[in-house]
């Protein structure tokens, strides 16, 4: 990306420095509940030249010459400044690439790509015109559904299908051994429902702030071998009575 003015392009040389190695606490397994190591383990690097909007810089008539490197792998981002010795440093995790790491990395990339679709679907639901009042999800519901989706991705849960009942909730669903799993996300509540052709098998809910650690639930889902619904159902749909 390049949005610098010609004046900026004449700026002094900048050295970008990248540091690789087992530098960050990102190597703490993400499912280790005792650590605060990165929970953003789906790797991906955004290198955005000078593109980040320098907001409200002060103390200088010149806008900063920025070179920003963003990584969600280590959850760590550093950029240069407007001095000639400006540096950007990227700290990435793990200096030993094991076979397992390679496989999980590749799986994570696939997972991230599929979750991008989910993220876009949620954003689309949130950004609908106001005249789509019955379909447009409320901001708190959007925020909560993003949280849940991010936690699911974090725990390697396959991308769910998504649909809505109305403005106040978003539903994620999967199948598992002929049973359907539905997570209904509202502003501060997560309802879990399992149903089979015979009827409802189980129903429970987590209320934000109740003390129940929903991360443990998401972690358990990660090993439940859930299956994403068939592709046509994975895009959001609106109930026919709306």
């Amino acid at each position: 990306m390049s949005s610098r003015s010609s004046r900026d392009r004449r700026a002094a040389l900048t050295t970008l420095t990248y540091t690789s190695g087992n530098f960050l606490p990102g190597v703490i397994p993400t499912k280790l509940f005792s650590g605060s190591g990165t929970t953003i383990d789906n790797s991906g690097i955004v290198f955005s030249g000078s593109s980040p909007m320098p907001i409200n810089w002060s103390g200088s008539s010149e806008p900063p010459e920025t070179h920003t490197i963003t990584t969600t792998s280590g959850g760590f981002i550093v950029s240069g400044t407007n001095s000639s010795s400006a540096l950007g440093i990227l700290y990435s995790a793990s200096n030993v690439i094991t076979l397992g790491t390679l496989f999980s990395s590749s799986a994570s990339e696939l997972q991230a790509a599929s979750y991008m679709e989910l993220s876009e679907a949620l954003t689309e639901l949130y950004s609908l015109d106001d005249d789509c009042n019955d379909w447009k999800i409320q901001p708190p519901v959007y925020n909560a559904s993003l949280q849940v989706a991010a936690a699911l991705m974090e725990n390697d849960v396959p991308k769910p299908g998504v649909f809505i009942h109305g403005r106040r909730s978003v539903v994620f669903n999967w199948t598992i051994a002929g049973i359907n799993l539905y997570l209904t996300i509202s502003k501060s509540k997560l309802s879990v429902l399992l149903s089979s052709p015979e009827g409802i098998e189980m129903r429970t809910e987590f209320v934000g702030g109740s003390g129940e650690d929903t991360n443990r639930f998401f972690s358990a889902l990660g090993s439940a071998h859930l299956i994403s619904p068939p592709e046509p159902a994975s895009s959001f749909s609106v109930p026919s009575d709306k």
Binding site: F23, S36, T68, F76, S79, A151
Partner: protein, 253 residues
């Protein structure tokens, strides 16, 4: 052997899930915590990576400080100023501790998100000439009861958690010892620049012994402001205790 220096400090808040409340942008939080505008800000990208964080970064008290806001975590990080194309570390550990300690009440004050976990993390590093020296460094720092023997092995890692109740909360006190081979890649960027350096000029390698202290509370219903302050203060105290037990002899801790 060289002196231990700070590599990274971080305060992390974990919001309750689901919590539908609006989350401040990284720029807003940055301004509230460090009372100045960031030098760089990137809003949450709508394309590219799913759930990518918004990010704000600047300098504060001689350190690079940054805030990133992700749907399931909020990080406030301290890192070394970038002084040259080398491995940059924070020399002044007293200053590092002071900034970390000063940041805690600001974070507690600034946060409007309901959180159920919080963490304070610090990583320290000591650059050595080779793996043998780095391993010797580790042996000096490791708890003696494990009676480990190391000579010229590579990529050593040992991590322990010593959880305990602190007040009414259960807290984790994680320590990780590791020997790292860090590569620094330096690239000159500018109009008309063709960098003719060979690989050795582009890439430098450093063998570094590191000790990471990552202290946090186990998930609870919700942390009040007082509890959040308590957890982060205790976690930072745990960093001080941890570095002392690991014989890092850091000034200011």
């Amino acid at each position: 052997m060289g002196k231990w220096k700070a590599q990274l400090g971080r305060i992390t808040l974990f919001p309750i899930i689901p919590a539908g409340a609006d989350v401040s942008s990284a720029a807003d939080l940055y301004k509230r915590v460090w009372a100045s505008d960031p030098d760089n800000y990137q809003k949450q990208p709508q394309a590219g990576l799913p759930f990518a964080p918004s990010f704000a970064q600047g300098s504060y008290s001689g350190l690079i400080v940054s805030c990133s806001v992700h749907p399931i975590r909020i990080d406030f990080s301290l890192s070394p100023p970038t002084l040259g194309p080398s491995l940059n570390l924070i020399e002044d550990t007293k200053q590092f501790h002071e900034v970390l300690a000063r940041t805690i009440p600001s974070v507690v004050e600034a946060t409007t998100t309901t959180v159920n976990r919080a963490a304070c993390l610090a990583q320290f590093a000591n650059v050595t000439a080779n793996y043998r020296n780095a391993n010797a460094l580790m042996l000096k720092s490791l708890p003696t009861q494990y009676a480990l023997r190391l000579s010229d092995e590579e990529d050593f890692i040992l991590q322990l958690n010593r959880p305990r109740a602190v007040g009414e909360l259960r807290m984790n006190f994680v320590t990780k010892w590791s020997v790292e081979r860090l590569q620094v890649l330096s690239l000159q960027v500018g109009p008309g620049v063709i960098q003719s350096s060979g690989l050795n000029q582009l890439v430098s390698e450093h063998i570094v012994g590191t000790v990471l202290l990552d202290n946090n509370n186990s998930a609870t219903a919700r942390l009040s402001k007082d509890q959040l302050s308590f957890v982060l203060t205790e976690a930072l105290r745990g960093v001080s205790d941890g570095q002392r037990e690991a014989h890092l002899d850091l000034e200011g801790f």
